[in-house]
């Protein structure tokens, strides 16, 4: 384990930014944190997490896939892919780091998505352990330890220093480059912080939330639950939950006619939208109840069924704070199966 004094943090960031674009959470004018590319004068936010998740780095909201030139009856297909530049994402929390595993199972499964794979290959993830989890946090429900995140390099920030440990080859390479700015140290401070954080995690309001009754093979058990109708009755059908969610990955592919060619682009889509499953002659999910159910069934039942029991939620709590009508996965989990508080 190595450490770097907080007073030298800017120098550390500057060094990282020499070799690759460095992104980190910074405070916006509205007092909320968002990722920004580091430059002199930007400071790491103290906020627990960013409004938008870190999935944007690997799966951006909009990206061009390819281009076409259409000339009469002939078409030219243009592969517009380019090798991504190296980049570093600093300050990813344990929940968001787990979300990359979930995105990986989708995008890297054969046949792998080269756009995602390319960014994944060029990105280094530096995670940051949580010290002050919020009341909306429930990552422990899904077996995530907020005090010890995964990542290429793991960091713990104490009052005076940043402790760092490389976990992967990519991480070791980065740490080697930072050797001059960091020093070898013992793990006492980190252990103490981990213990405190774990204590805090155990005392959180949602600490007792469990996903035990959900999982693969439970489709029929929950699908027809009458609770869906009540849970979804106020749902606006907007895409806020899906777009701030670090694990939602459904997408749409569209063609944009630029007037001098056609760009085929991919953008985030939401199963909450009315046209998500709309076909030329019908829509299997006609009402918001069905769309609402799909989102939660996918995270709590369908995804674990296909992925060895791992849930499609990481407990980051973003939907708890962002939903316009304050409906969220915690309320869904507590109400399904009839044991509402």
């Amino acid at each position: 384990m190595r450490k770097c004094s907080l007073t030298a943090l800017d120098a550390l960031f500057a060094k990282m930014a020499e070799s690759a674009a460095l992104y980190l959470p910074v405070d916006g004018d509205d007092g909320r944190a968002h990722y920004a590319q580091w430059q002199e004068g930007l400071h790491l936010s103290d906020a627990l997490n960013t409004v938008r998740s870190a999935k944007d780095f690997f799966f951006p909201q909009t990206e061009n896939l390819m281009a076409f030139k259409v000339n009469g009856k002939t078409i030219e297909i243009i592969d517009t892919r380019t090798e991504a530049d190296d980049f570093i994402v600093f300050g990813v929390r344990a929940c968001d780091v787990r979300s990359f595993d979930i995105l990986d199972t989708v995008f890297l499964a054969e046949p792998a998505d080269s756009y995602y794979a390319n960014r994944r290959a060029h990105g280094v993830i530096i995670s940051l352990a949580c010290t002050r989890p919020a009341e909306t946090c429930f990552c422990s429900t899904f077996g995530i330890d907020a005090s010890t995140p995964a990542g290429d390099v793991v960091c713990w920030k104490t009052d005076d220093a940043l402790y760092m440990e490389a976990k992967t080859e990519k991480g070791s390479a980065l740490m080697a480059a930072l050797a001059d700015l960091t020093e070898e140290c013992d793990t006492d401070a980190v252990k103490a912080q981990q213990a405190t954080t774990k204590e805090r995690m155990a005392k959180l309001p949602l600490a007792d939330l469990t996903a035990d009754k959900f999982g693969g093979g439970k489709t029929m058990e929950f699908f027809s639950d009458p609770a869906w109708a009540t849970l979804s009755e106020a749902c606006l059908g907007c895409g806020t939950c899906t777009f701030v969610c670090p694990t939602c990955q459904c997408y749409d592919i569209k063609d944009f006619d630029t007037g001098h060619g056609v760009t085929r682009l991919r953008c985030w889509d939401s199963c909450m939208y009315s046209d998500f499953t709309k076909m030329a002659h019908g829509n299997p999910r006609l009402t918001q109840v069905e769309r609402f159910r799909q989102r939660f069934m996918h995270k709590l039942v369908y995804y674990p069924e296909n992925n060895g029991g791992v849930f499609g939620c990481v407990g980051c709590g973003r939907c708890l704070t962002r939903c316009p009508i304050s409906m969220n996965i915690v309320k869904v989990m507590k109400n399904l199966g009839g044991d509402a508080k």
Binding site: D29, D30, G31, R32, H34, A47, L48, V51, R52, Q61, T62, R132, P133, A134, E135, T136, R200, K203, L204, P205, L206, T230, E233, A234, L236, G237, C238, G239, T240, T242, F243, V244, D252, K254, F256, L265, C267, W268, D269, S270, Y273, S274, D275, L320, T321, R322, P324, I325, S326, M327, N328, V330, K331
Partner: protein
Amino acid sequence: MQTVTRDMLVSRAKALLADGTVDRVLGWKAGEFTYDVTPGVFTDADAMEKEFVYGDFCGANFSKYLLTEARKTEKKVLVFLKPCDTYSFNQLLTEHRFDREKVYAIGIPCDGMLDIHKIRTLSAEGVTGIDTDGESVTVHTLYDGDKTVARADALAERCVNCKSKKHVAYDELLGEDGEIIDSARFDEVAAIEKMTPDERFAFWQDALSRCIRCNACRDVCPACTCEKCVFDNPNSGVENKSPANSFEEQMFHIIRAFHVAGRCTDCGECSRVCPQHIPLHLLNRKFIKDIDEFYGEYQAGEKVGSRAPLVDFMTGDLEPSEAVKRGETNA
């Protein structure tokens, strides 16, 4: 703290359910915490007893829910309307969006609703409970103990600039009716008008570039009630779910605001729900301010059946070239 209490609402709703006046009640359901209240429909007294809450975080405007709920009821649906909600209520009636006969509206006074995001910014993250009492708000936090903030500072933006405490529609009123307020709601718009074009452009680029096109602003808006939005219509040529670039951000928000211009009651729901904290009300208010200045003061929803300024005209109306000059103080 609100002047009307939860118990007053519940007992009145129960009575109306019991005497068969209504068979559905639109109300607020308790969440995990103090602040995450969800709108919901109650059909029996037991459920109301168990889940119904009313307090400083019951800001959701129920008017739009009447579009669907009024169709479901066999008697009437009971709806509680804060003063600002009654304007949306009237506007929807003007547009014939629901059957007035199917609705029993109870007007309730409002002392302003609180904004949990403001409270977090002012006090601390990790809010486990909130008590309000007159002028102050006590916030219980996970790590920083109890914090007290002034109620005025924790008010939602739309409540800070509340335009009316007066109900313009109801079947019955609980508590006292208030007055129309001479609010300062156009001050921010005026401040932007005073900027140079470059500053204005930068301001809006910064704000609109945050948009994630979740459509929450549109979906929550009581004036956005098209069966099929142009932005959802694949044949419109502008259907898009992603803010692919700054043009699309601008287009979506200009068209969204324009489509409700003259019909927007300034209820503030769009800004409340925006996950990216974009000051959308400043677009709507610009239209309202312009309409007031160009065509005479007009408050959408004040009267049922009033003619919206954009479906009306005077032969001597202002020319667009003059309008643009007036609209920017810094010409």
